[in-house]
């Protein structure tokens, strides 16, 4: 499965500059301070899991990385490009960063195949035949090539989320963002989506995942970041974070998560 290019990329991980650099990022919704001095570097090829209670700012953080939300203070650099009001920088970043949403957000008026080829055709100016071949390749990778001619409404939630992952991969992004990709799914569907994410992680893709799936975090994450009330409280390798939480906030959060499962 692992492709030579990607293997080279992950080998060069150590000396490459960080894929994402956040420096003292602050954000407010009205008077509410939702991100407080968040500083975080994500290395090329690193798999980062962000967790925390609801309202802790983890979704806002990940949405700031491809500027679906704008930060008001501090700096965010993605692939070496500073996020600002500059529209060309924005275009460049969005092309390199793929995103998967909690509610899938597939386009209901387009077939599965058209969902996947839309951006390659209109953003990358790829010929249709080539875009379709590429889309089929990724649909095979997420194990649903036979659904290509169907519409999103005809698929189960787990299948839709796998299509959403394939759709993002068709843009050949350097970085993938996952915003609670399994929170809207039934347990048996969570499994199939996580399997796809694990296999993606094995290819050396840089991934930032907001998720409460501890099993997934243990299996693939290089680092887990715990956020609460808009700030990063604790971070470290998954074993350390889950076995030896240092702060009371993380202990409380972990006990609640474990009770819920």
């Amino acid at each position: 499965m692992s492709n030579t290019m990607e293997a080279v990329a992950s080998a060069a991980r150590a000396d490459a500059p960080p894929a994402i650099m956040l420096d003292k990022v602050n954000k407010w919704y009205g008077a509410m301070h939702v991100l407080r001095d968040v500083s975080l570097n994500v290395a090329l090829g690193e798999r980062l899991v962000v967790c925390g209670p609801s309202g802790s700012g983890k979704s806002t953080l990940i949405r700031c990385i491809n500027r679906l939300e704008t930060h008001q203070e501090g700096s965010i650099k993605v692939d070496g490009i500073e996020l600002s009001d500059d529209l060309r920088a924005l275009d460049a970043i969005r092309r390199e960063v793929g995103m998967v949403f909690q509610s899938f957000n597939l386009f209901p008026h387009l077939t599965i195949l058209e969902n996947c080829t839309l951006a390659p055709i209109w953003v990358r100016h790829m010929p249709k035949a080539e875009a379709e071949a590429l889309a089929m390749q990724y649909l095979e990778r997420v194990k649903i090539p036979e659904q290509a001619k169907k519409y999103p409404g005809q698929l189960s939630g787990g299948q839709q989320q796998r299509v959403a992952i394939a759709r993002a991969l068709c843009m050949k992004p350097k970085i993938m963002l996952f915003d609670e990709p399994t929170s809207a799914l039934d347990p048996e569907m969570i499994k199939e989506v996580l399997e796809v994410m694990v296999s993606l992680a094995e290819t050396g893709m840089t991934m930032v995942c907001v998720t409460h799936e501890m099993g997934f975090a243990r299996q693939v994450a290089d680092r887990v970041v715990f956020m609460d009330r808009g700030e990063i409280v604790e971070q470290g390798p998954p074993g350390e974070i889950f076995e030896n939480p240092r702060t009371d906030r993380l202990k409380l959060f972990l006990s609640q998560i474990l009770r819920g499962h």
Binding site: L68, R94, R95, V97, H109, W122, K150
Partner: protein, 400 residues
């Protein structure tokens, strides 16, 4: 869909349910009520028909459309075609039909543009714009259309006479005789240029569609504007120049008690158009707002996250979904504009209803007159819904 294999059990035909002749059988009752309804409808039609025939015999009124060829002798203030009172009733009714179409077509276009802008303004982040448009929609929707038409007409009647006309720019006069604008003396070259423009418009649209289809196929973006420039500007200009580039300005001027020359917008036409457009725009604004809001924000975000620019997000993701919600109620609004234009009678604009009414008063051919009015509205309305249903089916096919 096609690859599913046929289940052998599905080859068996469904069992037939025998009808039991009993009042408790659902299907017996269904048939009974259908027979009752058909009976009522047939007897009502028969009663209307026999009553009409009887009354016509009693009053010795001949039926038929022979009166259409007789001299109308009715004056019409504004007409798109040559007309004078010595022309036939048929021609007078043609003038009325064209006047109705003049209001309906221009009204539909303006109400769509105006209503769409207000609908978008209602969703604006700008507080002033949002509040103003919300107030507009609430006020306009809550007042009867007839009242609004009378209001606009009263305002236009309150304007000064021709001698004291408002004169904001050279050749522009606003008085109680209407709005006068400078125009040109229309010649064959202008008609040709107009035809060239319309053909150019069709050609541009076709070129754009082809360019997009080709871009999908090979990925190379193609500029449409050079073709648009040639087809929409150069071609009409060339057609006009080829026939000697005639240009004689026709500036309105006061002669005695009224204006001569120029282009006229009569107070009646203006009041009717303004009333219809502003009233219907209030409803269209709500339809457009609902259509845009029906597309979840996640759709926009997903498209942006894939790197699509704002224009492409609108064209490829938002509009295809919003139009599905917008088009069906929009059809009703277009039909409303057309039918509401018959309120023209109230302010003296001579549309088809006004002229057919005068015709039936003068000739006594009430049934034929009403039949003509009904036929006209039915034809226009069916054309509009036919076109809109076709358009709706075209955009709806995209969705499963």
């Amino acid at each position: 869909m096609s690859q599913t294999s046929i289940d052998p059990r599905s080859l068996r035909a469904p069992p037939k349910r025998p009808i039991k002749l009993s009042w408790s059988d659902e299907r017996v009752r269904g048939i009974f009520w259908q027979v009752v309804v058909v009976g009522i409808v047939v007897s009502m039609v028969w009663w209307l028909w026999s009553n009409t025939v009887h009354n016509l015999e009693v009053r010795r009124i001949a039926t038929g459309f022979g009166f259409l060829g007789r001299e109308a002798g009715l004056p019409i203030a504004e007409s798109l075609i040559d007309y004078n009172p010595t022309n036939s009733y048929l021609r007078a009714l043609m003038v009325g039909l064209l006047n109705t179409l003049k209001v309906a077509v221009v009204g539909i276009i303006l109400a769509t543009v105006f209503g769409t802008l207000i609908g978008i303004a209602r969703l604006s982040k700008n507080w002033v714009l949002r509040t103003l448009s919300a107030t507009y929609v609430e006020v306009i929707r809550d007042l009867p259309l007839l009242l609004q038409l009378l209001f606009w007409y009263a305002i236009l009647q309150g304007l000064p006479g021709p001698r004291q006309a408002l004169h904001p720019a050279e050749g522009v006069f606003l008085s109680n005789r209407g709005l006068k604008l400078p125009w040109i003396q229309w010649e064959g070259a202008h008609s040709l240029a107009l035809v060239a423009f319309l053909l150019g418009l069709v050609a541009t649209i076709m070129y754009r569609r082809q360019a997009l289809a080709k871009q999908i196929a090979d990925g190379v973006p193609r500029a449409v504007w050079p073709v648009a420039l040639v087809c929409l500007v150069a071609l009409p200009l060339a057609a006009w120049a080829a026939l000697g580039a005639p240009f004689t300005p026709d500036i309105p001027a006061l002669r005695g008690f009224n204006f001569q020359g120029g282009l006229t917008l009569s107070p009646e036409y203006f009041a009717l158009l303004a009333g219809l457009v502003m009233y219907t725009a209030g409803f269209i604004a709500e339809i457009v707002r609902a259509g845009i809001q029906a597309v979840p924000n996640g759709q926009r975000e997903a498209a942006q996250a894939l790197g699509l620019r704002p224009g492409a997000v609108l064209r490829l993701v938002v509009l295809p979904q919003a139009l599905r919600v917008i088009v069906p109620p929009m059809t009703s609004q277009y039909l409303n504009i057309t039918k509401n234009s018959s309120l023209a009678v109230a302010i003296g604009y001579q549309d088809i209803v006004s002229i057919a009414n005068t015709t039936l008063n003068q000739t006594g051919q009430a049934i034929e007159g009403i039949a003509i009015i009904m036929l006209v509205y039915l034809t226009i309305s069916l054309s509009i819904s036919g076109f809109m249903n076709w358009y709706n089916a075209r955009i709806a096919l995209v969705e499963r």
